[in-house]
């Protein structure tokens, strides 16, 4: 556990020193919020809520899913630069390299949630829920983000370069986040997309967030969202660990 914290600390120390990374966490999400709110927002009908209330939970979920990008790129770099070899030659806990990475993502995810909620509030978002529900929503976001970090850890160890980690992650996740209820009501989509969007874990998590933060009807989606987070973790954490053993054991 202490090895995990040391690695997590290492990944956080470097954050302020990589300005492009910090921009990805701060300016980019803010830009997206403003774009959707003011460019597309006027044209999108969201019965029951103002678009800004509808948008903020959705865009935060999208953002959180991409939080693990740092893990994918970072692990891939570590592998190429021989750092993984160094870590493996040290008397440290084996899973600490991956666990430390993904733990660091939780901290950066919390940071980008804070920035996005603040931006949302400035442009008119408000919670329609108890503090307890709001906190439960926050916890769900962090768990879901953590699960996705394991997906990205796997991608980072799978591909041959940081650049391809970037594009594989982007191609796999970006459409998933859009074919969901994150930005527009699923009802407005053509039937094939609608069918997909309805079972898309992003829709389920976004709906759960709207339930927790806006009091919207959620059916079973809060627990469904938690289950999805654990399924993603349950699939990709072992895959990432197995890949780590293989990749590092060449």
């Amino acid at each position: 556990m202490s090895d995990t914290l040391i690695i997590a600390e290492r990944n956080l120390i470097r954050l302020p020193r990589a300005p492009e990374l910090l921009l990805a966490f701060t300016v980019q999400p803010i830009m997206f919020v403003l774009l959707f709110r003011y460019v597309f927002g006027g044209a999108i009908r969201t019965p029951g809520y103002s678009y800004v209330d509808y948008l903020v939970p959705g865009i935060i979920v999208q953002n959180i899913a991409f939080g693990g990008f740092v893990t994918a790129i970072g692990l891939n770099e570590d592998m190429h630069k021989g750092l993984i070899d160094r870590f493996r030659s040290l008397p440290m806990a084996r899973p600490a390299v991956l666990a430390g990475r993904t733990l660091a993502d939780v901290v950066t995810n919390a940071l980008s949630i804070a920035i996005l909620v603040l931006t949302g509030v400035i442009i008119g978002f408000s919670f329609h829920a108890s503090a307890l529900h709001a906190l439960a929503g926050l916890a769900l976001l962090l768990v879901f983000g953590y699960a996705f970090s394991w997906f990205f850890a796997f991608i980072g160890l799978l591909v041959s370069s940081p650049e391809s980690a970037n594009s594989v992650g982007f191609i796999a996740v970006f459409p998933l986040t859009f074919i969901s209820s994150a930005f527009v009501p699923v009802r407005s989509m053509p039937s094939v997309l609608r069918a997909f969007a309805n079972v898309n874990p992003f829709t389920i998590v976004v709906d759960a967030m709207r339930h927790l933060w806006l009091g919207a009807a959620a059916h079973n989606s809060v627990w469904g969202a938690v289950v999805w987070a654990f399924v993603i973790m349950g699939v990709f954490a072992p895959l990432a660990v197995a890949r780590y053993r293989r990749a590092a054991g060449r």
Binding site: R10, D85, S89, L90, R250
Partner: protein
């Protein structure tokens, strides 16, 4: 069973019949090796010879397919966890975090060895001073020069004061000055009693640093001994003749052939052969060549170098120094 009692204090590293394949590529094809405690062994060989693979086996990063190896009496597979506390590894990649400062890099490694933050920091400063990096201690490592990175990497390998140190091509890609300063650092470590196994494709590096050289090619140790012993194996003296006209090379080679046990080799204007007798060799060569009507530009008699050793042992020249990384990793 690990031959613990036989290893005693004299043998730091023992490798016995180690095989390792990557798919259809056989990286190690039965390596046997012994390194005495406190000595330096250089694994000399071209790219893809299996040097890095052997280092990875000995540093517990890779399990051998067959055979066994012990370092300090620890089996590299069975006692891996225990062994990791007692070895240091510095590779050809300078495995440091470029976004961390020199001090942060070494402190992190110290803490991963289980030291407290304060002790890890103190040790880091000690090492930074020793490796002439104290001034740069607070700068991110990405601002370091190639030589500084290698020194930081080596420092990271020494955090836990390991009695055995593995250096995988420690100076590949460095400029001559940084190379020399790294050699001096390694020599100091050896003087303090550290056992070193280093891999290199530079013959002069092996010649300068190592007590024993193991020549490795296609995953096998094909020769082992001191630099002098290896040179003696090639035997005799080397005669090198530069001709005025490359067209006469074959005639010159034929004329000189009776002086050697082997067929003289020629390339361009150069003819090379090993001669049996040093005394009178130059006079005889000049005489033979002038009788054959061959114009000579220059003529040198010298002791064999490790280059000659390598050529004689493997049938091909050692790899060009310009090649920076070992390709076997890509397998």
């Amino acid at each position: 069973m690990p031959p613990l009692e036989r290893m005693g204090h004299e043998t730091a590293i023992r490798v016995s019949g180690v095989f390792k394949s990557y798919g259809s590529v056989q990286a190690l094809a039965g390596v046997d090796l012994e390194v005495a405690a406190g000595s330096v062994l250089a694994l000399l060989g071209p790219n893809g010879a299996g040097k890095t693979t052997l280092v990875r086996v000995l540093t517990t990063l890779l399990k051998p397919d067959a055979g066994s190896a012990w370092v300090l009496g620890c089996d590299v597979v069975g006692d891996a966890a225990q062994l990791r506390e007692r070895i240091g590894l510095a590779g050809q990649y300078a495995a440091i975090d470029e976004n961390l400062t020199g001090l942060e890099n070494l402190t992190m490694v110290g803490r991963l060895y289980g030291a407290s933050r304060r002790r890890a920091k103190a040790r880091a400063r000690e090492l930074l001073e020793r490796f002439d990096l104290l001034e740069a201690a607070g700068r991110p490592a990405k601002t370091y020069s190639g030589g500084m990175r290698r020194r930081l990497d080596l420092a990271a390998a020494l955090v836990a004061k390991p009695p055995v140190l593995f250096l995988d091509e420690p100076t590949t890609g460095l400029d001559p000055r940084s190379r020399l300063s790294l050699w001096e650092v390694i020599e100091r470590l050896v003087a303090e009693g550290t056992t070193v196994l280093l891999t290199t494709q530079y013959l002069d590096e092996a010649d300068r640093l190592a007590n024993t050289i193991a020549v490795i090619d296609h995953g096998r140790v094909i020769a082992e001994g001191t630099a002098d012993e290896l040179k003696d194996r090639v035997g005799g003296q080397r005669l090198e003749v530069s001709l005025d006209d490359p067209a006469q090379a074959q005639i010159a080679a034929a004329a000189l052939a009776p002086m050697s046990d082997e067929t003289p080799a020629w390339e361009g204007t150069a003819v090379r052969l090993s001669v049996r007798e040093r005394s009178g060799a130059i006079v005889e060569a000049v005489h033979r060549l002038s009788e054959a009507g061959v114009g000579v530009d220059d003529l040198v008699l010298r002791r064999p170098t490790l280059d000659d050793v390598f050529l004689a042992l493997t049938g091909h020249v050692a790899e060009d120094a310009g090649e920076p990384v070992e390709r076997e990793r890509a397998a």
